[in-house]
Amino acid sequence: MDFWHNIYLGFSVLAEPMNLLFSFIGVVLGTLIGVLPGLGPAATISLLLPLTFKLSPVTSIIMIAGIYYGAKYGGSTTSILLNIPGEADSVATCLDGYQMARQGRAGPALGISAFGSFIAGTVATLGLMLVAPPLAQFALRFGPPEIFALMMVALTLVTYLAMGSQVKALAMVSLGIFLGTIGEDPFTGVSRFVYGSSLLGGVGIVPVIMGLFGIAEVLVNLETGLKVELFQKRVSNLLPTLKDWKDSLGPIIRGTFIGFFVGLLPGGGGIASTFASYSIEKRISKHPEQFGKGAIAGVAGPESANNATSTANFIPLMTLGIPTNSIMAIILASLLIAGLQPGPLLIQKNPQFFWGVIASMYVGNVMLVILNLPLIGLWVRFLATPYSLLFPVILFFCLFGAYTLDNNPFDMWIAIFFGFLGFIMRKFEYEPAPLVMGFVLSGLIEGSFIRSLLESQGSFLIFFTRPISVTLMVLAVFLLFYPLVQKRALFKGRFGVDE
């Protein structure tokens, strides 16, 4: 009964014209930025954060969620037609999608990618609806020590997402946590590291994100000189044949489940799920030799996994307050800006918000299929937009967006500083995502850490004497040292001796 009531509630929230309009704007923008190489959802959502101040929380998150999963649809277009992943998660799609385009089968590749994404997105939304409420209910048992232990698991897992060194990612997490402490101490009200009054309110999350993801990305692209060449300018026959469907149905179903479960894990991103799906499809295929040469299963599986992951990513965020990747960290920031505290109480206290966003995902997926099949020609035309016309606009939105937060020029300086820092970080192979995660979670970590210590009268044992917290702490320690153990085992196996 509750179930149907909640669905009704969600759709009645979505039926408000503003929510429907911004759901549409979100998926259109998402598809657009997914199609355009050099502009990702993290940068776009950062650019739009100032706009969300003017919208209601549910409207802004409906739009942001639309951008996030819309970009997954759009990313496949660029991968298939240009062999450039419009999104990092679309790398696996390039392998067979582009080969299909070279064989004149760009249409079915794009078609199966859109249908697979739709099926996966819809099934994953159903999963989100079923899994999130009981998980949030369970998490209501969490006190400060459990929350702190959970944050430790989240931060440790986040470092798995890092492409390079795990130690570097942990250093960035620590730096992010420190940045989050700048400003007023939440317990005593004492100002920390403010050096005058400009930082009294702390370092703003929006200018930091705009700098690290918006400005830095432009600087990196300016260095590499982004050039694109369209392989197939006209796309036809989008509807897959019966044989295409037969070859794709299994990969779509498997990709959906893989993507959904990977998306539940903190640190579980689309890249991991798409490659997991791709390698499984290749392994179980009767014709593995066709993979990499235009196998439709190599497009259907990863694209479905990708979309299921993007939806499942909302579960840890909305139920536990854990962002699983940098975009979720930005969404967490936007929820906080909107006055909502993601965590176990979010669904209970704001059912309209939660079920409204869920309903928007169903409708958004339908909009995306319509946008990505009949209107594919339009997106192909956007592929020809020169980056030299785009990046000045991105830079403008970063700076002026930061300024409009408080009409304070200091926020522009923060954005420029973090833009430059983000560029240098990328050059020195440090990733910005762990820094943002540490920054966003800093307040929650500090609050739960200090409260736990106060509760236990200064004893760190509190983290190791409560069943849930000790389980999580052991998991965090295991995850932290697992790569070391694995490396040692590999070394031993290869050379038969200790390192």
Partner: protein, 153 residues
């Protein structure tokens, strides 16, 4: 020795020391009674430990040195882009929204995107008028008027 890691870890180590010193000045307290500097001190300590680990690995690692810039990098373009951003932050409140945007889009178009003068001017006029319409008219955002208040519509 990996030079880039060595340099970055030394920088982070220095930063960690500064954070810890700053936290000590704020008072750290103890686990029974954590003071305002307690948590920043913990984060500084963690940063210090991880930077030290990066430093140790950088010292041991034998790797071909990677150049900071790619061989075909548009270094001038990047520096000019940063220069234009700084110009924007400095002049927005003094010159006002419209004039700053006109100059911003022109400078970026001409010197960073390397468009010819005519295209850069056209881009500047179109870009600044477009954002003026979006923010000034559509969103009704309060815009800095600067020296020429009459230019804000």
């Amino acid at each position: 020795m990996k030079r880039s890691d060595l340099l970055s870890s030394l920088f982070l180590l220095g930063l960690a020391i500064l954070i810890c010193l700053g936290a000590l000045r704020l008072e750290v307290g103890n686990p029974h009674q954590p003071a305002p500097g307690f948590f920043p001190f913990v984060s500084g300590l963690a940063l210090g430990i991880f930077s030290w680990l990066i430093l140790l690995r950088a010292w041991k690692k034998v790797e071909p040195q990677k150049r900071f810039w790619r061989p075909d990098a548009d270094k001038k373009g990047i520096l000019q882009a940063l220069g234009v951003l700084i110009f924007y932050a400095l002049s927005l409140e003094h010159l006002g929204f419209l004039l700053t945007n006109l100059l911003f889009f022109f400078l970026i178009g001409r010197f960073v995107a390397h468009r010819n003068w005519g295209v850069a001017v056209a881009y500047s006029i179109l870009g600044s008028t477009g954002v003026q319409l979006i923010f000034g008219t559509l969103f009704n955002t309060p815009l800095p008027s600067g020296l020429f208040p009459s230019l804000v519509f």
